[in-house]
């Protein structure tokens, strides 16, 4: 093969790797019954593609080619090992007699992979790491840098999770209809945690981490395509609507800009419109839940020309609905800030003080900064200062700290 042909094939294989490697992996895990064996087979299959494909001779269905090549490579390597380890021989015999793979099984494989990586028997940290590694194809190093931990920590989480899948026999299958609602909740929660880590990093020097949000949205799109349940669509809508404001959430110097100070011309209209349309789809199902309601709230903001031009009455109404679906103090806090916009700061402050008095959000920096904001607007400088200081003591993220320090300097 000429060099030029080699380059062209390399480009083709790389493209197939980008678009199809995760799907091939998902099927190989089912066929081989083991994550590590499947990953090895995936690598071998792509290495074989580089050697065997040539311009004009690329298989008509590259994915099927890669699956069957990967499977043969795995059986080969098991056979070699079987010479030393008798327990492998039976596995080889089993694999040899496996029937061909129907196409609809293959599309379910990606869902199987998602549900297995997000199995509730795995710890949440491991669910996220495993999903990013296996479903999104991120490297251990990429995951580690996204979560600001060391690669060895992430690698260990993944190794332990795979060991539990094997040892406790977590099956590679779709949940039954009875299990689905609870299992889907876990999957959505994992995707949302990944998104949130990207949207508002819990520590570090920047406000947002676009890479993680992008992965979460990709996962959301994939899931919505495979399993278009109302809450899946609602979560995707929520992520798109939040994402549409990304450019306006930080100033050129990297500082945090709150909703009412954001330059709305920087909002991404295309993402917001797509998100709003998905909200409508989910709402019309009549089976929506907390993600869809949050998305509906975000959609009202996205469609408002200015803070003053926002329909706060509708937003408070949506928060009432959300409080029924998810009666948590954080939701109550957000509702209180919406009430402050509708009925004035005094009304909002009364609600926040009730929540804090119940002792729920004493350690939550946003509760104190929201309280500080309302005190400031009411001209209660000493109270505002004390609340800003409390919030500052509770937050580690640099831009958020700078924001609070700036506010503090303004009132002192």
């Amino acid at each position: 093969m000429t060099n030029e042909g080699g380059d062209r094939i390399r480009a083709v294989v790389e493209e197939v790797y980008r678009t199809d490697s995760r799907r091939v992996l998902a099927t190989l895990i089912r066929l081989l019954g083991d994550f590590d064996l499947a990953e090895e087979a995936l690598h071998d299959a792509f290495a074989a593609a580089l050697e065997q494909w040539s311009p004009g001779q690329v298989p008509s269905n590259p994915r099927a080619w890669l699956v069957s090549t990967g499977r043969f490579k795995a059986i080969d390597s098991l056979r070699r090992r079987a010479r030393f380890d008798r327990s492998q021989a039976e596995l080889v015999a089993q694999l040899d007699h496996q029937p061909a793979v129907p196409e609809e099984e293959v599309s379910d494989d990606q869902l199987r992979l998602i549900f297995t990586c997000c199995h509730p028997a795995l710890p949440p940290d491991a669910q996220m790491a495993l999903t990013l590694r296996e479903v999104c194809g991120l490297t251990t190093e990429e995951i580690a840098s996204a979560f600001l931990t060391g690669p060895p920590t992430v690698a260990q989480r993944i190794v332990r999770a795979k060991a539990k899948i094997r040892d406790a026999k977590i099956p590679y299958q779709l949940p039954s209809v009875a299990e689905l609602p609870a299992r889907l909740d876990t999957v959505l929660h994992v995707i949302y945690l990944v998104f949130n880590e990207g949207y508002s990093a819990s520590a570090g020097v920047t406000v947002t981490r676009a890479d993680l949000s992008g992965e979460a949205i990709r996962l959301g799109r994939l899931l919505a395509e495979l399993l278009p349940e109302p809450e899946v669509i609602g979560l995707l809508a929520l992520m798109l609507l939040h994402e549409s404001r990304r450019a306006a959430r930080t100033s050129p110097s990297g500082d945090l800009v709150l909703l009412d100070g954001q330059d709305r011309s920087l909002w991404n209209r295309a993402l917001a419109t797509e998100g709003a349309r998905l909200v409508e789809t989910s709402l019309s199902s009549q089976r929506f839940g907390a993600y869809t309601i949050q998305a509906a709230i975000a959609a009202v903001h996205a469609q408002s020309p200015s803070p003053a031009g926002t329909d706060w009455n509708e937003i408070v109404g949506l928060y009432d609905l959300l409080l029924q679906a998810d009666p948590s103090p954080v939701v109550a806090l957000n509702r209180a800030t919406a009430v402050a916009m509708r009925d004035g700061p005094a009304a909002g402050l009364e609600l926040i003080d009730t929540i804090l008095r119940d002792g729920h959000l004493e350690d939550y920096h946003l509760a104190h900064s929201a309280r500080a904001e309302l005190c400031r607007r009411l001209g209660r400088r000493t109270d505002a200062e004390a609340a800003y200081r409390k919030a500052l003591a509770l937050t580690k993220q640099q831009p958020e700290r700078r924001f609070l320090e700036r506010r503090l300097a303004e009132i002192c």
Partner: protein
């Protein structure tokens, strides 16, 4: 594959419950056991005496030490177990969720480790 379902709860709670409630619970346990015997998931089950009846032993430097009480003082104590045969963890979880004690305490589901010889026979 076999899973041991360990039933944990606050053992001081049980004597405080009204008799009608404990009777109802016992009959639920009986019908649950009968159900999983019929479905072929049942391998073994036992209720344990409360932890004051427990004795913990250790051998250190060849010397036997015997102490009164459970291995560890915890809020919830091991009160009994079911050993079940299940296809995989999902099925084991489904079975364990039907153990009446899951509503007042918690059930720990532990896969039984296979000996190399048993693994070979599978």
């Amino acid at each position: 594959m076999k899973y041991l379902c360990l039933i944990y709860s606050d053992e001081t709670l049980w004597p405080k419950l009204p008799k009608a409630e404990t009777d109802a619970m016992m009959s639920e346990y009986m019908s649950f056991s009968a159900d999983i015997q019929k479905s072929g998931h049942f391998v073994a089950a036992n209720r344990l005496q409360p932890t004051p009846a427990a004795t913990t032993i250790r051998i250190r430097n060849g010397k036997l030490s015997t102490t009164d009480g459970p291995f560890a003082e915890t809020k919830e104590q091991l009160g009994g177990y079911y050993l079940v045969e299940a296809r995989d963890l999902n099925e084991a979880i489904q079975i364990a969720a039907r153990i009446p004690g899951a509503r007042i305490g918690s059930i720990e589901v532990r896969p039984i480790a296979l000996t190399p010889a048993a693994a070979d026979q599978r």
